[in-house]
Structures are given as C-alpha cells and as structure tokens.
Symmetry: C3
Subunit: 401 residues, 3 copies
C-alpha cells in the first residue's frame, strides 16, 4: 500500500512537459461546513511565475475574526476580504498605492455594524475599502421603499462569503483566480447571490472582476449593483483629473450642482470644513462591444488608475468627490453601476433598476489597472479619447431629488 | 497510584446487572465558563438501544460559530440549535421530512440579525426552523408597548443557550434528554428564563418539549410563549389538511377573512404573487387532563405529523398558511401559544398575557410525532375526532386589528 | 548553543540587587494582529509583592468570546473587561464587594447589543459593571443631534480594546499597570481614542484610572466622558450616605425634583414598583490642585468607597439613586464627568461639552479606594469636610429638560 502511494506521488510530480501546471483549494464553504483560519500557497507549490497567496485571520479590536487574503502577483499586491462581501481593501503596484486613508484602520467585523444607524447610513461606519460593492437588492441613499427599509448601499459589503476558493491557471495566460460566493438572502426578503471571480494575471498590475448576480428565487426580483471604487493619495490631489469618454453628465443633487459644472472632473486638493461632497452622474461611450475605460490621473500626470468595464451591464457611472482634510476621509470614488445612487424608488421610476426572472443571472465585467509611468497614462488617455466620438452633453439639472 | 486508577476504571466498567445504564454530559455552561466545540456519544458508550448524538460547530458564511446537536434516536433524526434559542431546525423519520425549505440555507448566527429591521420584522430574516419559539417577553406583531419596542416574535430565537447538557436514561423508557437554558434577560428589562428539556424515546419518531419559563425577578412580569412549528413538503401540498378538535376559530385579520372560512383548514398548493398569507386563530377541545392533539395530514393521507400539547398552559392555537411558490418559503405553521400573534397590547386587553410572580415558573408540555403510514394517520384522526365533542364555532370576525 | 542559552537564562535570573524587577506583556494588539486567549503571570515570575494576573476568555450564552483580566493585588481583586471598553466589572477587598447585583449575570458580548433599541436606550441591556465609561463622542440621554443619532451613554462601553498590555513596575511604588486602547472611530464620524492606564498598587485596596482621550482627526471634535461608577450591597442600604464637598447641587429633572432636596444624599433602602430613579447633578470643591474626594458610606458607617478625581477635567458629578428591589437592579451611581447626563445639545448650550483640536489629548485622573474599617471611613469623611469650605448651594431647579 505504501509503495503504491509513493508511486502515485512520483507520478504526480513527473508532470509531462505539455501538461497544465496549476492548483486549486477551497478555503471556506458553508455547504461542506468548512472554514480555514490560516493558509498559504505560492508559485513554489503550484508552479509558474512568481507569486504568493495567504489567507489570514485578523485579531484585536473590531477586526477580531475578520479574514483576509493577501495576494502578490509579482507586480501588484492586493487584499481580498471574504468577511466583508469579498471586497478588496487595498492594492499596491510598486510605489503606487490604490485605495485611500480611511479614518478607520481596522477592517471592522460585520457584527459591530448597524446598517440602520443614523437614519440608515450605518454603512459608512466601517467604510474603508478600495473596491466596495453596493447591492445586491439596493444601493444608494436610505429610503423606505414599500415594506422594505433600505439602508445606504445595501447589505452586501457586510455579508461574509459562504464559499471561497483559489486556483492557479497556467494557460492561456498565467493567472490567479479567487472565487467568492456571497448570499444576500433573507427569508421572505431578497434571494440574491453574488458569485464573484476576482482574477489577476501573473506579473501585471491588474485585477479583474467577473461577477454574477443570480436570482435564487422562483419569482422575479429587482437587483442593484454598484462598484464603489475609491482612491486617495498619491493619485488624488490638487490637479488630479478624472478622464472618461463622457456621453452625458449631470450633478446628482442641488448641493453637487451648486458650484456649476466647470471643472467637475478636476480636483482642487483637501478642504477644511465646511465642505460638501459632490457627486456627478454620467453615461459613457463604449466600443463596439460596449467596453469603456475611465482613468483617474495623478496631479503630475505620471501615474494613474484605469477602470475598464462593460457598459451593457454597468451602463451608468458616478464620480464622488470627497476632498476633505487628509485625516477625515480624503477620497474620490469612481463608481460604475446598474444605476445612480439615488433612492431606489427614484431609480425604478427612471428605469434604472434591472429585474431578474427566477433563476436568472446578471453578468458584470470590470478591471482595475495601475498605471505606474507617464507612458501608460498617455496611452490610457489616448484610448479614452478614441472612445469619446462626440462631445459630452453637460447638464446642470440634478439626476435625483 | 496508577494501579489504583486502573482498579477504579475496571470498577466503572463492571456495572452490576441491576444498575441503571445511562450517562450525562454538560456541553455548555456559562456559570462554569464551559463551552464545547465538537463532541459525540452513542449507544456504544452509554448503552441501550441504537442511537447517536453529535455536537458540531458550523463554519462559513453567516453560520460561522453556530452550534448544532444532531440526534439520531434510531427512528428519527433531528437537529437542535443551542445558538438559536434551543430551537429545532429540522427532523426526519424515514422518508418523512419534518420542516420546510426556507429561502435561507445557513443557520444564521444572531450577530447578523437586527430584530428592529423593517419596522421590527427583522426576526424573519433568519427564519428557517421546524420548531421556533416566540417569546419570552412577547411574541406577535411588532408594536411600541409603553416604553418597550416589541419586535416580531420577541428575542428568544436569537439568544444562545447559557447551559446545554445531554443525558441518556435507560428507564422507565429508554430516552435521550437535552436540557437547555436560555436567558431572555436585560438590565432594567425582562428577566425571564427558558429551561427546556427536549426528549426523545429511543426507536420512536417523536420529540417532546417540557419547557419552563421562570420569572427571575422579585417583581411580577408578563410573559408570552409561542411554538411556531413549521412544515413544508412532503406534508404540505394541494389537498393537505389540518385536523384538530376545534372549539372555535376565527381569522386573525381582514386579509385572512377575505376568502371566507370555507376550506380554512385545507391547502390548495403553491401560489404565485400576488398572494397573502392567512392566519386562523382557534381554541381546541382537550381531554379530561386538558391534553389535545392536532394533525397536519399529507395530500394523499399516507403521512402526517401529530402535535400533542397541554391546553392548560397553551390554551390558544394559530394556523398560518403561507402557500407561496416552492422557493419563496412554502410553509404552514401550527402554532400553539399562550395567546394569538396580535400585538401584545391587544392580547393583554383580551386577557391572553399571563403574569408570573417573582420566582414563579410556567410549565409547558408539547410533543411532535411523525406519522409515517396510513394506519398511524387514521388512528390520529380518530383520536382527534374523539376530542371534538361538539361542532366548532366558526366566526368570520377577526380576533385582532 | 544549548549551553549558551542556559548561560543567558542564568544571567537573567541573577539580577543585580539594584536592578528594577519588573515585566511587561502585550496581550492584544490589532496593529500587530495579536490576540491572546488565555494567559497568566504572578509575582513568582515578575517578582515583588504577592499578586497575580490572569487573562481569560469567557464561554457560554451571550458571554461567548468576551475576554476578562482577573487581577489580585494582594489586598483587592478586580476584573477588567477588554471586550467591553476596558471597563471594570467588579472588585472585592476582603469582605467588601465593590459593584452591584445586575439582573444580567453574563458579561454580554457587544454583538448581542443594539444601542438604538428602545428609542436609543439599548445600552442598558448589558449594563452591569462597577466602572463603566459613557462616551467618547457623547453620553447622557438619547437624542437626535443634527445628523447624529446619539444613543444612551454613547458607544465606548460596547467597543473592544484594540490594544491591551500589562506591566509590573517595582518602583517608586510597586504596582501593576494595565494599558488599554479603545477606538471610538467611524468613517465620516467620531475619531476619538481612549488610552487608559488602570493601575493598582501592590497590597493596597485601590485602583486608579489615568485616561487620555485623543482627537485622531485633523479637524476639531467635541467629546464627552462619564465615569458611571456603580455600587450595590453591602455599601448601599437604608441609612447609607453619599458624602461630598458639594459646591452646588440640583435635581436633573422634574421627577428627581419631585421629592424635594431634603435627604438627597441619603438612601432609604429598596422600594417596590412604582418607583422612579432620581439623579442629582452637582459641582464639587477641590483642593489647590483641583483634586476632590467623594464617599459612599455604608449604613453602619463601618465601610465605604472613596472616589478621588481631578475636577479640572471632571468638573461635574451626578448621583444616580436607583433604589429598586434587590433583583431588579438595586444600585447607586457616583458619576464624575465632563458634564451632566442631559442630551448633548442641552450640555452644549450650557458650555459643558469640551472640544478637542486635531491631535489634542484630554487627560483624566480618577481613583477608587475601598474603605474596609470605621477608621478609614472617618478619615475619608474628615478629608472631605476639609474640602467643603463653604456650605453648598442647593437648588430645586432641574439642570436639564
């Protein structure tokens, strides 16, 4: 028996030259009653490139029990948070940090968050990620919508993943794929499931989201999905610019309209109180397949971040400018979504709330690429210009109440 | 010393023939600062019959940290949930599943539930059990009752047990007994304790509840208690029937009265939206000791579930019909209680809210028996008919607002 | 290698006579991702006096996962609760228990508490400690204050410590020091940090708090801080007396004023319902450095507790009399604070809400001493008399609405 096992083992090691090198591991799975506290793997075990993956459990204060996956793909590091809706907390490519300096430093466990606090704005208390989804049943401003009490940006960011797995694929392009399943389900309430594949090519400063929202019920259901993607320094600063192939743009509300539309896509640096955040809602041009690109360009134009996404399922985009003082949450959000962050009834009336049939799935693709030198920034700007075939329609009329 | 210990051990093994075979184990006890993550025992260790008991801790998603006790008494399996008010999640006797297909699949940890959500209806978000208690200070519709904000069905189902133990008794009838203590206590609020003994006879498809509610204070306190016992397929379906020795019955509210009372105790199968759940409130005839029986009979009449309980302390009963589509929470509830699920002030005014003196205890007995063949169903029907000495008084006037 | 280690070890043991004997241990630190489940140390390891310290994790019911530090300084035992705002649950010096019989017996984990419950009074549900802070952004009655929904006594008592360490100092006075850091921070909300040093001299029945509140932001912030220090039997009883160098005193509200001011500082024993708690708000005389003393004296005058604090940063004090039945929460609170427990807008209007500049720190000193014999009580009374240089101004006009 032992000899047989050794033979098997030897066989597994002597992979033929043409075989695909790879590996796969399930880390969390509520169906199988499986959880993993600590785990790691690297290119040394699964072969190919130079990368590493580590699952850790956080301890102390309000982060006690939160799980994170630290990824290093050789060109970029980033951290996925299974305990917080499979969001991405932060990323770094060389000197370029993607993310922001949130006033909260711990990744707060959902049990310390009360979404209904402060008139339904409890969501902000633990807000700190680079890419935080709003959804799945709703996002946007708190509102009573029929029998449902909707809280800011919905529940998904404070729901833990029911399934997490990681795999390494050697071909066609060597990459790591992280699969997470988050159930935004309640008895006699929403029955929506996020199945997210977050992937990263080995050696490139890029992370992509292939997300599916599935209606688990046998009855039709509405859904809403927002990619609240957030950047602070070094990209944000006086002179930074948001670059996009804008089809039309308007302020979200009167406060955002107050300063006019001139310079709406440029940043002026931190402001002391009193200061009001501004939101601009827009639609973008896409290419023949509907893919579009937007960029946040650093003040000196030497760095940036490119967001590429599919306008067929993310047809709307919001730009949130929160240029407060550095320690108060200095950040801007580039936020593609199924609609704008108005209260859901407003979005429904405007035809911006998709409905899924029982069992139906909604698919989204979005990628974030770090631009670490002026040449990459210039190329991204040229790509975006090529999409902007006609000048934008700029409106001062708010899109919401 | 070692010899002495061995002698002791041998002595323990050589139990005299007349001795009672049995065993007992404390699994959780907050007074002794004791918790157990995983544990099991079977008839092999404690002798007698053919049974097994396993305590497990669940992992992944929103079930992380929830503890369950899986019981197999040789004729029936069932799962007790210490983390959720010592409720029973599901049971099975041969092919007959007792319980239902809740839209939520994980047994959600209380830390993810906010009872005040949706106007005080947050309780439903994690609802999925076979037998879920409402109480201990209140059950029924949410309401502001003086200084108290009462939420749907109270707190007890989202309180973890402070004490859990299991014992095997060989005589008079071989049975397993699970003891759970749940404290529904708050400083300057309710001081009520549930001490529940859930017992099951070896080799019979039956589980019984002997529950005590104790007023821990030195002042009088109100209490309310509901046994929200829930069934889906295979018992529920078009043609299924609720059988009971009804003394009087009335709809709970206008919506339940809308369809009239004809066929109130029969089921018509799943309905698509729009559909309104119906609740019928009743009092039942009992035998000389006050014991009564009700049955849910399967569409073909070949299977059923019998609920037997003491009308002296559970004098009221509600039947909840939620015949929605299969994935939306298709279920009916047979719900004996201290009153009806109206808001507590309505129940108080109707004299259906017991008050306990300081230190006083309220005792309840209820049993659930799986009926797995037509003969058992027929016998249960005959027993129920024997109790129904006079025809029911049927009223169309709602019992509540 | 082994020899070298042994040599090092021997060296560590052969401490020169003039060296300071001591030790230090970090137990929890979210920055370093460090938590400790169980740990202990005593004078045997760190030398000097006769004392012990034990960190434990509690299990069962709603205390599951709560961490406590049991301290025995040779003359007094007390329990610090890192999971609950670094509060002190109870203390004992010989036969004299400091603390009270809360209706809740488990130290409830914050995940089971909803501060917004019952109109913002959810804080009381888990109330049970000897010394419980109110703060850091607010304390006092629930109120909507602009965009902020303030709940009773704020959040700090239900926030877990992000850092906990313990050290033993041999000189100048042998003592144990427990350092705890609690972050009352929310994104786009309060950014306040409590850094508390709880210290106790070896062999003396005393525990002192040196607390710092720091504004972590770069913008000004208000803060409020209350030391809700609570005593039941044996100090509380008919004939017990609150002794203080009162400068001025007034009832907090009409209910507290109803009985007049005669006997406001004396206790009459437990009362059955109906009974209304009373609160009296006061300012005290201090010595040249601003230090003041107050005492709760037992019915026979043979025992007491002395509270000493700095009126420069704790200029106000409230006395809360809750003389209910023994099992309903029989307790009195001696509560120095930055203001009175009125709603924050009332306190702001009265000039009793400090504002901290960005980065500024507010320092508080407070000590609690057990008086275990008549001589100590008499000496404390004399000390307090010496501070009361002029008779108090007694007003019947409530300080709040």
């Amino acid at each position: 028996m032992r000899k047989f096992l050794l033979a098997l083992f030897a066989c597994a090691l002597s992979v033929p030259a043409f075989a695909q090198i790879g590996g796969q591991q399930v880390l969390i799975d509520s169906d199988r009653n499986l959880a993993t506290a600590e785990w790691k793997v690297s290119s040394a075990e699964w072969g190919g490139g130079r990368w590493s993956v580590q699952l850790r459990t956080l301890h102390g204060g309000r982060q006690e029990g939160v799980q994170v996956i630290d990824v290093d793909n050789g060109a970029m590091t980033f951290t996925i948070v299974p305990s917080r809706g499979f969001e991405i907390w932060t990323a770094k490519a060389g000197k370029l940090r993607l993310g922001w300096d949130s006033p909260i430093k711990e990744i707060i466990h959902p049990s310390y968050i009360r979404l209904t606090d402060n008139g339904g704005a409890g969501w902000v208390a633990g807000f700190g990620g680079l890419m935080v989804r709003g959804g799945l049943a709703s996002f946007g401003s708190p509102v009573q919508d029929g029998n449902e009490q909707l809280t800011l940006h919905g529940r998904v960011d404070y729901l833990p993943a029911s399934h997490v797995s990681v795999r390494y694929e050697a071909s066609p392009v060597p990459r790591l794929v992280f699969r997470g399943v988050v159930n935004d389900t309640q008895t006699f309430g929403p029955q929506l499931r996020l199945t997210s594949e977050i992937s990263t090519p080995i050696g490139k400063p890029e992370v992509a989201f292939d997300d599916e929202i599935t209606n688990l019920s046998d009855a039709p259901q509405e859904m809403q999905l927002l990619y609240h993607t957030n950047f602070g320094t070094p990209l944000l600063g006086a002179g930074a610019e948001f670059v996009a192939p804008v089809k039309q743009v308007a302020p979200m509300n009167k406060a955002s309209a107050a300063g006019g539309l001139a310079g709406w896509n440029r940043y002026s640096g931190p402001h002391a109180q009193p200061y009001s955040a501004q939101v601009f809602n827009m639609q973008l041009h896409g290419d023949a397949r509907g893919m579009t690109k937007t960029m946040l360009k650093s003040p000196q134009g030497d760095m940036g971040v490119l967001m590429s996404f599919d306008t067929k399922t993310l047809p709307y985009m919001s730009l949130w400018k929160n240029e407060v003082t550095p320690k108060a949450g200095y950040v801007t959000g580039l936020e593609p979504g199924t609609g704008f962050p108005n209260p859901r009834p407003v979005e429904r009336a405007a035809g911006r709330v998709p409905t899924l049939k029982g069992g139906e799935t909604y698919r989204v693709h979005l990628a974030i690429t770090a631009l670490t030198n002026p040449a990459e920034v210039a190329r991204a700007a040229a790509d975006i210009r090529a999409l902007a075939v006609v000048p934008p329609v700029v409106s001062i009329t708010p899109t919401g109440p």
